[in-house]
Symmetry: C2
Subunit: 306 residues, 2 copies
């Protein structure tokens, strides 16, 4: 059987494909485009199309044993600009995907949700999966709705979903659009000699996970046959100011960030409680933040922008 990675050309997807190939899986990628930062991996079947293309998606599900769904057409920072587009692009298309999977009798799905947005402003630190879901961005609201459709499909039609509420992934091959992934954005800016900007005073705390740790967890989630909803982070918090300091140490540059006004939808502190996934699978993140940033910096430098 084939493992289908929807969004397999993206940042997380490309690392997941690597880990799947290393573990001996037959991999098909469904994505709007090929990978951006490297040539296609040998042996990977790429189906190029939009998540809304139901006919193509149905074809792509042929001979598939499990699906990884990593696509998001929006990011937290911009989802509120057009919630209706967010809902159409992510929620409606995912509901259709579930219907196609039901028809094709594909039961296993690993869905990448968002530990940074589904809880809203956490009432506990760290925040566990049982924390109430009160998102304050369209991105988070749609993630919660997708999670609920997955759980309904499980209850009514036997889907076996693994929902991974990822924290903030970073690492090589993260883009530099400036709207997602503060570490990638900072490193690209520095490499290009541009100033970096931070929102507020840099005290915002996030849980950063190296993309390879996350990709390995995705594979484990599929291979162990677990079902349920799990936080997927490092379990540790770092402020934006700490990240800037670490980047300064790694790059050897003096960094003076420009400060912009804080954004209303930014949650002040989110650190995920990862004890559930540890207890269930034995997985634990292995790459310390400083090492991961150093690796990412080396990768950015190799991209030839300096």
């Amino acid at each position: 059987m084939i493992t289908l990675v929807i969004g397999g050309s993206g940042f997380i997807g490309s690392h997941l494909v690597d880990e799947l190939l290393a573990a001996g899986h037959r991999v098909r990628v469904f994505d709007r485009s090929p990978e951006r930062f490297r040539a296609a991996s040998a042996g990977v079947d790429l189906v190029q199309g939009d998540l809304g293309d139901t006919a193509l998606l149905a074809e792509a599900l042929s001979d598939v044993g499990q699906v990884f769904h990593l696509v998001s057409t929006t990011v937290p920072a911009t989802s509120n600009l057009d919630p209706a587009a967010d809902i159409r692009g992510n929620l409606i298309n995912t509901v259709r995907l579930l219907e196609l999977m039901r028809a094709a009798k594909v039961r296993r799905m690993v869905y990448l949700s968002s530990g940074g947005t589904v809880y809203g402003i956490p009432q506990t630190d760290p925040v566990a999966e049982t924390h109430r879901l009160q998102p304050i961005s369209s991105y988070g609201i749609v993630k919660v709705a997708v999670e609920n459709y997955l759980m309904m499909e499980a209850y009514l039609h036997g889907l076996e979903p693994v929902i991974l509420r990822a924290s903030n992934p970073y690492g090589p091959r993260q883009g530099h659009g400036g709207v997602q992934g503060v570490i990638g954005t900072f490193l690209w800016k520095i490499a290009q000699g541009d100033p970096i900007q931070i929102w507020g005073d840099g005290s915002v705390v996030r849980d950063f996970i190296h993309v390879r740790d996350l990709a390995q967890l995705c594979v484990l989630a599929a291979e162990t046959g677990i079902v349920g909803t799990f936080n997927a982070g490092s379990g540790a918090g770092h402020s934006i100011a700490e990240v800037v300091d670490t980047i300064a140490a790694v790059t050897g540059r003096k960094i003076v960030p420009l400060r912009k006004e804080g954004r209303g939808f930014d949650v002040p502190r989110v650190v995920l409680d990862i004890s559930a996934i540890r207890a269930t699978t034995g997985w634990a993140p292995t790459i310390p933040l400083q090492d991961g940033i150093a690796e990412t910096w080396a990768w950015v430098c190799r991209q030839g922008v300096i």
Copy 2:
């Protein structure tokens, strides 16, 4: 200022309009059609249109001080047949309504959510507002998503929402389509001499609230200036079998229901904990189930089907 009732021609809406007029409000109704069971109420301005008609809705918001949003294009029993339509008709259109309200600076909104579906299968009895939200129907999932967009709008843009998670309303002017409102459906069938059908063994328990009690609560919610999410039920549970017995007693008919196989999306028991709304507003339901059924039966009989 005008009070806009979106869905004001419907079952609950028509009673809400009565209560608003009695309390001296100027009322505008936005609905696809006029009321079904009676002539238009004097002094009510009817704007006939679809919730998706943004231009018309924007017009209808002129001079409006508060909005009641009672529209649902789906019911729990059928929402799973086409979740994408459910999402488009209810979620996307409501998100657009919120944008229009923001532009028109209308801050007060009473939204009718669903205490019977947002919690999924309750882990407590009765179920309080803090219970986790794990709906197992598209209807419930969309209600949760709408609630989340309302709370986000409150957090980011100052909306003052009152979310009422209604239980199962019944009473005069409930339709008899057969997909919503078991009491209304049963009474119409009996009046027409048709057999009634129940799913499963009749042990399913619901919290029935008389529509007038609910409408009075809606008015109170608007007038007291409260903000938040509240269960809106009777706080008492009655099984379908009990309802059938009560109907038999009220109508004086011998009733032998036809039994159909249980439905996967039916929650076995939902009784709402209404202590929060009682404590906040002093409201309490006043109409006992037997009295309400007797009143509804008298109304059905007056419709001339016998």
